[in-house]
């Protein structure tokens, strides 16, 4: 009987994949599948064989109410810590925009490169990646996009290439973003578990290299695309973002990297870093010269805008942990069905994921911010891999494929409307990039993250 339930679970998984690809609301999708899996897995214990139940104590060693509570209460509560980071990161992003630090960095970069498109693209990609190690949310991407994209286009770079180069650089920076790190880490373990798995450790072993690989691949590909394309000049009215903004003082331009640097160097609190760097930015850029009440209002407004920036993500983030939890109850059934065919060696996982990278598109079964969360639930429960290894395996399709290359990513969708690039023209550039960068990143994973000791397992 457990085999049939396993098949039913698998069918609902494909149903979810289809639902995600159709672009429906992720929060509702995950809520529905969580309920379906709860019914199937917990109800399934009534009809399963005694052998099966005996070998899977997770399904029997506690009461039904406790299990339900674990799914619908403890799991989302556990993600509260992650969520708080997201909100503060969004606030900091708003501060960097309000103070003009982010836009000044971009303008100074262009003033170094000038009209040589490749030099300027390379410099802009590096700076964009650095900025997005600290900024979070669609608001900042759009705010930087309305500066960077017109600049590239006015240098004669075709719009699709400009958009591609920018979006991939944003994604590159996210590999070191402490907010995203905390967010994805929570897919694998509780925030309090495995204290050694810090951003600093991860960055030294994998993160820096991942950012560099991503930026280099995006830049080199932009160069190749540029060589084979014709320059274009557009007459367009820019209604936003072009307005003259005062330059931020040069000594404030390092502030974007402060939270990340503190986190990596001293494992200093991320939120503490955001607060310190954020208020330094506001004071040094003369944004706090009003009355006390006015200053409070500004800080408050930036917080509000920041939280709104991330709102589309919040509902999804708070439903997802329920799903992650229920996946652990569903996994014994999956093991019955998929156990024999699931990859058990790290090399096979890397090769398989590299081949299947395309399934990270359209919220498919490879991306954590899509139905890849279900894949992870299945994979991590039928075979045993170290946490850092699995983290990297899933981070690649999530960041490079979904966030950087897919038109379902909110800010990519915005960029298409802004630059008037056709979806297919964007995907023509982004998919090759996703595969090339993705394969290199899996090689990196095999080199630095495979064969880890027992302390990295749970």
């Amino acid at each position: 009987m457990e085999f049939i339930i396993g098949i039913l679970l698998l069918l609902t998984f494909f149903g979810l994949a289809y639902y995600c690809i159709k672009g429906h609301n992720l929060m509702i999708g995950f809520l529905v599948i969580t309920i379906a899996w709860t019914v199937l897995s917990l109800g399934g214990t009534a009809v399963s064989s005694a052998d099966f139940l005996a070998s899977n104590p997770v399904l029997t060693d506690t009461t039904l109410v406790k299990m339900l509570n674990a799914i619908y209460q403890s799991a989302p509560e556990g993600w509260g810590t992650t969520l708080v980071n997201v909100c503060w990161g969004a606030w900091f992003g708003r501060v960097l925009m309000e103070t003009g630090i982010a836009s000044t960095l971009i303008r100074k970069t262009v003033e170094l490169g000038g009209d040589k498109p490749m030099v300027t693209i390379a410099l802009l990609n590096i700076v964009t990646a650095i900025i997005f190690t600290a900024m979070t949310g669609a608001g900042p991407v759009i705010a930087i996009g309305v500066i960077v994209l017109p600049i590239m286009m006015s240098l004669g770079v075709p719009k699709a290439i400009a958009m591609f180069s920018f979006m991939e650089s944003v994604a590159a920076g996210i590999y070191l973003n402490p907010v995203n790190f905390a967010q994805y880490r929570a897919f694998f373990i509780e925030p309090s578990e495995m204290e050694a798995f810090t951003l600093g450790w991860y960055a030294g072993k994998w993160g820096y290299a991942a950012v560099i690989i991503s930026v280099v691949v995006a830049t080199v590909l932009s160069g190749i695309f540029l060589k084979t394309s014709k320059t274009s000049h557009a007459w367009a009215a820019q209604t936003r973002g072009a307005a003259e903004q005062k330059d931020a003082p040069f000594y404030t331009l390092f502030l974007p990297i402060v939270p990340v640097a503190l986190k990596i160097a001293f494992d200093f609190s991320v939120i503490g870093g955001f607060v310190i760097a954020g208020f330094l930015a506001l004071f040094l850029c003369g944004k706090m010269k009003g009355s006390f009440a006015e200053n409070c209002q500004l800080v408050n407004k930036l917080y509000y805008d920041g939280v709104v920036d991330t709102a589309p993500l919040v509902g999804f983030l708070l439903t997802l942990p329920m799903f992650n939890k229920v996946a652990s109850y569903a996994s014994p059934y999956f093991k019955v069905v998929l156990g024999p065919v699931m990859p058990k060696s790290e090399l096979v996982v890397c090769v398989l994921f590299a081949v299947l990278l395309g399934l990270g598109l359209f919220r498919g079964p490879m991306t954590l911010v899509g139905c890849g969360a279900a894949t992870l639930g299945v994979l991590s429960n039928v075979a045993s891999f170290s946490v850092p290894f699995l983290y990297c395996v899933f981070a690649i399709p999530t960041i490079t494929v979904n966030i950087g290359s897919c038109i379902t990513q909110s800010w990519v969708a915005w960029g298409l409307a802004y630059t008037k690039v056709e979806s297919k023209d964007y995907l023509k550039l982004s998919i090759p990039c996703a595969y090339i960068a993705g394969i290199l990143l899996y090689v990196l994973t095999m080199v630095t993250m495979s064969g880890m000791g027992p302390e990295w397992f749970i």
């Binding site: 672009g23 429906h24 609301n25 992720l26 929060m27 509702i28 303008r107 100074k108 262009v110 003033e111 170094l112 490169g113 000038g114 009209d115 040589k116 030099v119 669609a138 608001g139 759009i142 705010a143 309305v146 017109p150 600049i151 006015s154 240098l155 004669g156 014709k230 320059t231 274009s232 000049h233 557009a234 007459w235 367009a236 009215a237 820019q238 209604t239 936003r240 973002g241 072009a242 307005a243 003259e244 330059d247 509000y304 805008d305 709104v308 709102a311 589309p312 993500l313 919040v314 509902g315 379902t408 909110s410 800010w411 969708a413 915005w414 298409l416 409307a417 802004y418 630059t419 008037k420």
Partner: protein, 265 residues
């Protein structure tokens, strides 16, 4: 805080939680006061060549490298360059009409209809070596606005939007053809130097300013084609166009008028 205001503030959050996934639109600050389109074009058509310098340069990536005096001086030179080449091309080809000129020069012109977003409205595009797209969506909307009071008077019967856009893009072809000698391409700005190493760059906006002067000459207009930036955007978003109007007037050192200042006709 009233209940309505509270609801309004919570709406984006509620949409984020329960709404369908949709492309993201950033909310903006207070929307500008919407002016009648007739007022916008009437004021903008009186802005002089020199006064357009700051607006034109505000779209230049290297804008931070110039002083206001330099901006005005370079704008004058770029406009002179555009006019010079307009006369030269007219002489060589024996026609002034941009459409006939495009035909004689062997350009491939097409007129796609493409909906636009209001953040950035695309009017026309030149692609090397000889392709020009004139986006008709904006042109059509602009032609509809001719009926609004004061518009025809300010823009004059001389204006043919399609030909105006075409003339601008033709200049980019001219610029490419004479790239070795034309001033907009030979002018170089030194960005930095460290000992013997330095980086000199062309200034992209000079080509745009010259293209405006070029098409202005071909079309025999009394006002700068930059007026189209606000005018054609008006068809999509009177708010965005009014914001552009404020921006242009301020850059020109003038005070933007408010709708109530309109004299009764």
């Amino acid at each position: 805080m009233t209940k309505e205001r509270f609801k309004e503030l919570m709406q984006p959050i509620a949409d984020g939680l329960f709404g369908k996934q949709k492309p993201y639109h950033m909310q903006q600050g207070t929307p500008p006061v919407v002016r009648p389109v007739g007022m916008i074009v009437e004021d903008l058509c009186t802005i002089s060549d020199d006064e357009w310098a700051k607006y034109a340069f505000s779209r230049e990536p290297l804008n931070g490298k110039f002083t206001d005096e330099q901006r005005v001086e370079l704008t004058r030179k770029a406009m002179a360059c555009g006019r010079e080449y307009a006369e030269r091309v007219v002489q060589e080809q024996g026609v002034r009409d941009p459409e006939k000129l495009a035909e004689k020069l062997g350009m491939k012109v097409d007129y796609p209809r493409m909906p636009q977003s209001t953040d950035r409205v695309l009017f026309a595009e030149f692609r090397e070596p000889n392709k020009i797209h004139i986006y008709m969506d904006g042109v059509d909307k602009g032609e509809v606005l001719f009926a609004e009071p004061g518009v025809r008077h300010a823009l004059t019967a001389q204006l043919d939007i399609k030909k105006l856009l075409l003339g601008h893009e033709l200049f980019h072809w001219v610029e490419e053809k004479y790239r070795k000698e034309i001033w907009t391409r030979t002018y170089r700005l030194r960005l930095w130097e460290v000992g013997p190493v330095h980086n000199d760059s062309t200034v992209m906006v000079l080509g745009e300013i010259a293209a405006m002067a070029f098409t202005q000459a071909l079309n025999n207009l009394r006002y700068s084609p930059y007026v189209m930036d606000a005018y054609l955007v008006y068809g999509y978003s009177p708010e965005a166009a009014s914001a552009l109007y404020e921006e242009m007037m301020t850059f020109a050192g003038r005070t933007p008028r408010l709708p109530e200042e309109l004299e009764p006709a």
